[in-house]
């Protein structure tokens, strides 16, 4: 399962070589060892994926994974289901809030619920998480409040919460930068001699950034207890994953000395199992693990994006059939583990959360003008205090009714 090599099963026949050898007679090159032809499908093939719950909602047993989720009974699976329902609900609400002009922007996570819930629910409170902007499902699991989730997107603050209070850093906008922070934090855990682990969430596009690759170099070199959790949602805004990588993303890490797992990102149980394996390695001092959660971005990149310009509706439809929530609902219903009452309760809980988010959002106070000067440094500096007082004097002019010609 842990792939410290790139599984030969995915190596491709060098048909091209053979094709040409006749034409130009040249010395032999072992055929089976060339790179994938360019026309090779960039999208990873399902065969390669770890899965416990099929798209149809069938529980597939797996000799290795099963043991890692043996404790997850129907009740707990229903809890995971509930998490996903709630997350999808408030994600939809946030999108609506943006459409109504109440948020400046929102990056929907629609379709990625299982990747985020399955991984985040495997964590302990003392673990720490560094994410990108799309991981609101992870934030929810870490205990971020409905209002704090929208603070940044409403534009009233640059951070929604105190990172230390929820064990999750302020979501990172600079693609890939947080993977280095996660690695550094993990090295700190080693120094402290604790068995806390760190998870760095990032996307398929981020894997092209130097920062992410350097993070793997450092994590491997220092055996840092960090998990590189890549949600491969097939897109970096308008760019398909095939532009970023000619091979499945999970194939990248082993070459850095980091074992990787490639999991069905729409299967909450398989994601949890994979994350637990990685967490166990981290806690036991075995260092970093890379997880590629293969999923799909069902919505736009953000509310300002227009996917109709680049995304194929048919592909989206295929992925809709692999919905992470539906499959669990089917499974639970089939087992009689999800009554209509429970389902209704879940739905209304989700509504409550969404309502709380909306109300919290609309109730967010505009920041104090002069607070623009706060927290640049840990202590005030004469230089900035001077600018603050000058600006205060400027603002004051508008208060004491300005005289035409003096101030406008």
């Amino acid at each position: 399962m842990l792939r410290s090599d790139v599984s030969p099963s995915r190596a491709l026949p060098g048909s091209r070589d053979q094709r040409r050898t006749a034409a130009q007679n040249r010395p032999p090159v072992p055929a089976t060892r060339t790179t994938p032809p360019d026309d090779d499908l960039p999208v990873p093939r399902p065969e390669g994926l770890l899965q416990l719950i099929s798209a149809e909602g069938v529980r597939r047993s797996d000799p290795v994974l099963d043991a890692w989720v043996a404790d997850v009974d129907d009740e707990q699976l229903a809890d995971l289901y509930e998490d996903m329902v709630v997350v999808r609900r408030f994600d939809t609400e946030a999108t609506a809030l943006q459409r109504q002009g109440q948020l400046g922007l929102w990056p929907p996570l629609l379709g990625q619920e299982a990747s985020q819930i399955g991984s985040a629910r495997a964590l302990r409170p003392d673990d720490f998480v560094f994410t990108s902007y799309r991981e609101n499902g992870v934030a929810y699991c870490r205990g971020v409040t409905p209002t704090d989730l929208v603070r940044v997107w409403r534009g009233t603050a640059l951070s929604g919460w105190d990172p230390r209070e929820v064990g999750m850093a302020t979501p990172q906008v600079i693609i890939g930068a947080q993977t280095l922070h996660a690695t550094g934090y993990a090295i700190g855990c080693l120094k402290d001699g604790v068995d806390s682990a760190v998870v760095a969430y990032f996307g398929d596009g981020a894997t092209s950034q130097g920062d992410v690759n350097e993070a793997m170099v450092f994590a491997a070199s220092f055996t840092a207890p960090v998990i590189f959790f890549c949600q491969n949602n097939q897109w970096a805004i308008s760019e398909p994953v095939g532009l970023q990588a000619k091979r499945p993303i999970a194939d990248r890490a082993p070459g850095f000395g980091i074992p990787s797992l490639r999991v069905d990102g729409n299967d909450v149980l398989a994601v949890m199992a994979a994350t637990r394996i990685a967490l166990d390695r981290a806690r036991r001092g075995d260092g970093p693990t890379f997880i590629e959660a293969v999923t799909y971005r069902m919505g736009p990149h953000t509310t300002s994006d227009d996917p109709t310009r680049y995304a194929d509706p048919e592909v989206r439809a295929q992925w809709a059939a692999k919905d992470p929530i539906q499959r669990v609902e089917r499974l639970l219903r089939g087992r009689g583990a999800l009554s209509d009452e429970r389902a209704a309760a879940i739905a209304s809980h989700a509504d409550d959360f969404a309502t709380a988010m909306r109300e919290g959002c609309l109730g967010l106070p505009a920041p104090e003008p002069l607070s623009v000067f706060d927290n640049v440094f840990t202590t005030p500096t004469p230089w900035l205090e001077r600018q603050r007082s000058q600006y205060a004097a400027y603002l004051a002019m508008f208060e004491d009714a300005p005289v035409e010609g003096e101030v406008r």
């Binding site: 400046g104 600079i174 130097g210 308008s238 920041p367 640049v376």
Partner: protein
Amino acid sequence: MTELTLAAAINSGLRRALEEDPTVVLLGEDIGRLGGVFRVTDGLQRDFGTDRVMDTPLAEAAIMGVAVGLAYRGYRPVVEIQFDGFVYPAFDQVVAQVAKLHYRTGGAIRMPITVRIPYGGGIGAVEHHSESPEAYFTHTSGLRVVTCANPQDAHTMIRQAVACDDPVVFFEPKRRYWTKGPVVEDVDDALPLDRARVVVEGTDVTLVAYGPLVITARDAALAALDDGLSIEVVDLRSLSPLDLDTVEASVRKTGRLVVTHEAQQHGGLGAEIAASVTERCFEELRAAPVRVTGFDVPYPAAKLEDHFLPNLDRLLDAVDRVMGRQSSLSGWRA
């Protein structure tokens, strides 16, 4: 002559550049199929192919470094950095390679690279999407740095930038992308890329602005008129090298200078302009040059940006100050 938005004017300028020079290639994130997040490259990949308009993997350092290699090979790359805040990963390649290669090789290798950067605030964006990093580049010897304030300049200057054999960092005032204006594609005797332009003539104060704030400066000049004040507005256009002769000529006439930009004040371009003007016309200056800029804080949350960005009132207040009239700082001492 057609009426175009500033974004569309750059688009048509790039189109002309692609038509006129087969060595011109565009590189960037989402510039092809999507046409760029601001649609500045809309339709160009469709019309010129993926070989001329390349969507690249998500890595700014690589985009810049690959552009260097293409220039080595004789190409004329035009790089798009998606937002101002994302140019920093490419900073090393820009400062240590793009800016230095012609000097390093004693002129043997040219770097006719154009780096397009939508910049500036005022659009209520999230962090890293509203920055004005021009001073990092204007302090870097070997780079030409320019910006535009209207559709005509946008069109003409992007073509001049691409045609220029030196590296040019081309800052696009993103909050003015949708500003419309007349555009003539082929202007005879167009102003050279490295020259500033007096956009409003005046006699009392010289107000130097560039990019997004030129419109604000014009408004200020207009508003000041009611007040019997005659402001001369200089649209800098070239941020490096500076066309100081034009600024100097204006200040010699007015004796007063106000400089404005969105970028933070400390070490911003305004400092260089104030210092250079003071060096050149100390005797003619009737008051200390005044700078109206962003404050020395990181770019704030969207709901605070109005308390960071220079605006009409702050410009007029500064004009009052340089005129020795009562202003917010009258008698102010910290």
